[in-house]
Symmetry: none
Subunit: 176 residues, 4 copies
DNA sequence: CATGAATGAGCCTTCATTCAT
DNA sequence: TATGAATGAAGGCTCATTCAT
């Protein structure tokens, strides 16, 4: 049911997605949506949070394997790209939300962004670089999905290169 | 007059910004807005385009000085950060619009994004990296503006480092 | 519910009748009007069509009795006058619409006018006379309703007289 | 200048004709229209009255010749048809106005209608018939202008025939 | 539990009308 | 005098949201 909402949000954006359309697409009636999520915003937040948790989970699982830092980063990047690839709606909405920093939802959603930022900050030991790297990944994924002319591996390599340019690269100097 | 609109769009987004509020903020009456811009979308497009042109102009002027590639890139980055810093609304709206790739306004606004992408692609000779770099810049700027704890120079340096990690860095190997 | 709309349209005309007023008069809310009729024009068309069908039905029933042509015409005329008398709004709007030949609604409404014109043309075997007769009837009814000083029978008699002056009168020479 | 207004009113109707368009078509500025006519309604009334007077004048001149009643009526009918033919806008607006009996303008414009009705009532010595005849003329003219397949003479003949069916025909029994 | 039906509130847009020049 | 520029007021339409069933 969140799936229908996600599709609508991804395609039309928050405002253009009407509850009517979502309810119909989900095959239920509007009052049910309100019953479960309270409001349109509630539905949106629920979807974004679910997507965020899913993405985070995938990345964490990938990274948690016991391995050198560079390999773990590589695995995380692949997980990220895979998620973006396979959950187009979720990724689109997440990406959009990452941007709307000042909106009303910021408070409720800032957690995800911060968790990713923290993760990267820990990794690179440089908050500025961490944000730059996050943006690079998002932008690259977005472009890649729109023009999927290169294999995922290739895309990951670009990000790995950038990661190596960090003041404190993961796994100093390791060629991978 | 566009200024009031920009502020509203930046603060509330396109949909939440009401023409009533914009007109009042601009100190004029609603029909005037329609007289000048035809519609809400017209007003929005006008603002985004003006912002885009201004940003592009600043960056071009900075880069066009006769100098080694790395220095020119550095100047461009500073121009970009300066613009973001000084035209908070314009930058916010541009950044948001950069994202909404599939919206109705895409056609009318894609020019700006493409011009920047082309510029970077030419510079780095690698389309994927160009998009990654653009994202890094946007994200970094966004973070910096929200937490301006470092001097602009420092931020630019982060981006320069990343630029050096390009397959074909501008000004091969030049340490700057 | 169409009744309230009809009253408003008859009294104020299409443009002066506001959906707000109609909704209030009908004792429902505006969105319902839109739910049922889609637009103001939709509501108008619905009303005109219903009125047209009702009038046509009344006249057809009156005329279809097995009887000499003159008597059938007489019955039709009475039906027409009765309808105009009893459905003041419907008749007013129909009459007005009959006139606005070139409007946007023409396409959707021309059917009624043509059906009546055809009916009369068949009856009198003279298109010009048919239109003259239709106009005579409408004008006479309109005047009569505004100044109901004569019994309906009397009014019908005037029209019957005119009908007898047709090149091919119904029921040749029959005095009735 | 009234001409431009008339054209607009005839083509689009009172409400759809915007003062902007009329002013532009007339080659003057809106405030001038207000200077001369006070309001949109004032402009409309002025146009309708002028048209009405012109029609009445034409018909009176035609009828005033010293001649038998039937011939005078015939001349009047021809004058009417000629006016309708040559002043399409004026006639259209007049015809439309004749209909909107209950509008706000009724008071200011009823004079014309009544004068014609009086004229005809005097002629036929039967108010009901007079109104029927007027309607026949209007409707016939309207149809004829939309489908001008017959010479004016022919149309006039139809009306003359109807006139002969009056309780007190003009020029008793005169064949003309 | 689920929904069809209904609505309050608000937004974009337009236009007759008027100042200030 | 004539006008470009400006506006108050209102209208059509939509949508998130809720009863009554």
């Amino acid at each position: 049911m969140l799936e229908a909402a996600g599709q609508a949000f991804a395609t039309h954006g928050f405002h253009e997605a009407s509850m009517d359309a979502i309810a119909e697409a989900a095959g239920i009636s509007k009052p049910m949506l309100y019953n479960y999520f309270g409001s349109k915003q509630g539905l949106y937040v629920a979807y974004v949070e679910r997507s965020g948790r899913a993405l985070l989970k995938d990345m964490r699982e990938a990274e948690s394997r016991n391995a050198p830092a560079a390999q773990r980063l590589h695995a995380g990047i692949l997980a990220f790209l895979t998620y973006a690839e396979e959950h187009s709606s979720g990724w689109t909405v997440l990406h959009r939300e990452t941007l709307a920093q000042g909106g009303k939802l910021a408070a409720e959603l800032s957690e995800l962004r911060e968790r990713i930022a923290d993760m990267l900050t820990t990794l690179f030991d440089d908050e500025a670089f961490a944000h730059a790297f996050a943006g690079a990944g998002e932008s690259l994924a977005s472009w890649w999905l729109a023009h999927p002319r290169q294999p995922k591996e290739q895309i990951a390599k670009v990000l790995m290169h950038i990661a190596q340019s960090a003041p404190t690269p993961p796994d100093g100097g390791a060629r991978h």
